[in-house]
Amino acid sequence: MMPTQLVENGSSTNILSIANMPVLWACALGVFAVIILQSVIYIRAARKAAPAAGITGAELKTSFRSGAVAAIGPSLAVVLVAIALLALFGTPAVLVRIGLIGSAAYETGAANIAATTMGATLGDATYTQQVFAVAFFAMSIGGAMWMLTTLIATPLLKRGEHKLAKVNPLIMTVVPAAALLAAFISIGIGEIPKSAAHLITLLTAGVVMALCLFLAKRLNRVWLREWGLGFAIVAALFVAYAAHTAGLGPVA
């Protein structure tokens, strides 16, 4: 198939026209299909070996059902976040990157870092089809790294679980905490110079998230913690809309 309609050489900002290409939809649904196939294989294998593991068929069913029910709330929370990102990445990319393999935080972070290397900003006039394609590629390589580590580390861990567990536990707590905090704080602070509306959006999301986490703990409501990210993003976007309309957005 020759994509003859894409003659603008990547400088168009009509992201959704290429983000919704049939090939990308096919790949997104392909990942869905792979996960379904994997689940079917696993369930059949588990049924067969159940007596050896000391678990009954009824208990397998109960486990499946309670796993499914417990996932309803978190899944809908992910849906809310994903919808907020549709305008930026288009449906197929959001389904695979935000909904499945990755998460909103890592994927938008990776996309932002990729766009920056091209001198562009996500969402504004510099966010061309070219920038989208590079950002999408970089996000996907990022997700692939997680899977690659899993593929390499799982057999190793299975064999020498105890050896790796003896690595200085501080390495496993201090180093990832430092990496994670620095990455997100850096990307967040990088938004501040863009405009007053960006700063207001960042702060609103932070405050709403803090409120959700505080109330979740205070009132002992776990669902508030799950929905915190979604609520914070939606509330911040409402405030952003008001601030943008009031002329606090970036000077075009």
């Binding site: 090939v23 392909g30 990942v31 689940s39 294998a45 050896a52 593991a53 678990i55 486990s63 499946f64 309670s66 796993g67 499914a68 992910v78 976040v81 994903a82 919808i83 930026l88 449906t91 389904l95 695979v96 909904g99 499945l100 998460s103 938008t108 972070g109 990729a114 920056t116 091209m118 504004d124 089809q129 394609a133 590079v134 999408f136 590629f137 997700g143 790294m145 899977m147 593929l151 799982t154 057999p155 861990l157 707590t173 990832p176 430092a178 990496a179 905090l181 620095a182 990455a183 850096s186 990307i187 967040g188 990088g190 932070g206 709403v208 986490l213 990210l229 976007l237 952003a240 943008h244």
Partner: protein
């Protein structure tokens, strides 16, 4: 339930291990290839005029920022998930906020302890259940409803969403990371390093803008490591 001889039970479990290892790995490799295939097609055949330098610079900047997380996360979740569920979890995603709660609920409801065979089997079934719900809700609410929504919402609204969704996500994620990590020192060090890089280093060397986050990450790791609390339990 028929009683099995110990030898038969061992053979059955070995067979289960072989099946899930082989197919878990194969399906994950397939997922990896398909998920990279989409954007790769766009880059190669999209006629977008992307140079390989642009591509690899972007990938290198992302690698430089997140490499530690990629290495550490699979090792962290292994003891809870068990080997078979690893291949499920890292393809389905949203592990800590969705899969782990599902696993814990399932293990509790049948009284299975994590790390035992019963616990591992409960985990696998719970993740399958969670995956079923998750795929369905993504397909219906994001794939169908979301795509429709984006086509009817006025352009002014989607423009705002596009411009401001990054600060909205980051504002929330920073607060979440700070509160859930509960590590005051690395938090303060991260803020200090980031501010230094953004407002002192970058104005001096503007060319570093594209790797500023990677610099902050590596700088914070090094400083946080040497400034760690020695009073914590010795290794």
């Amino acid at each position: 339930m028929t009683t099995l001889s110990p030898a038969q039970a061992t053979a059955d479990l070995a067979e289960f291990d072989r099946t899930t290892s082989r197919w878990g790995r194969l399906t994950m490799i397939a997922g990896l290839i398909i998920s990279v295939g989409g954007p790769l097609y766009l880059v190669l055949f999209g006629n977008l005029g992307i140079t390989s330098t642009q591509l690899w610079t972007a990938v290198a900047a992302v690698l430089g920022t997140f490499f530690v997380i990629w290495l550490v996360e699979p090792i962290t979740y292994f003891p809870i998930l068990g080997p078979a569920a690893m291949y499920q979890a890292f393809m389905i995603g949203n592990i800590s906020n969705k899969l782990l709660p599902s696993v814990l609920v399932a293990q509790t409801s049948i009284g299975a302890r994590p790390g035992t065979e019963r616990g591992n089997f409960a985990a696998i079934m719970a993740i399958c259940g969670a995956a079923a719900v998750h795929l369905l809700s993504l397909l219906v609410f994001v794939g169908i409803l979301g795509t429709w929504l984006i086509s009817v919402v006025p352009a002014g609204v989607t423009d705002v969403a596009r411009i401001y969704v990054l600060p909205a996500v980051m504002g929330a994620v920073i607060v979440q990371a700070i509160i859930s990590m509960k590590q005051l020192r690395p938090t303060l060090i991260a803020f200090a390093v980031v501010l230094l890089v953004q407002f002192v280093l970058l104005p001096l060397v503007p060319g570093l803008a594209m790797v500023s986050t990677a610099i902050s990450v590596i700088g914070t790791i090094i400083i946080a490591w040497f400034a760690r609390k020695e009073a914590q339990p010795a290794a």
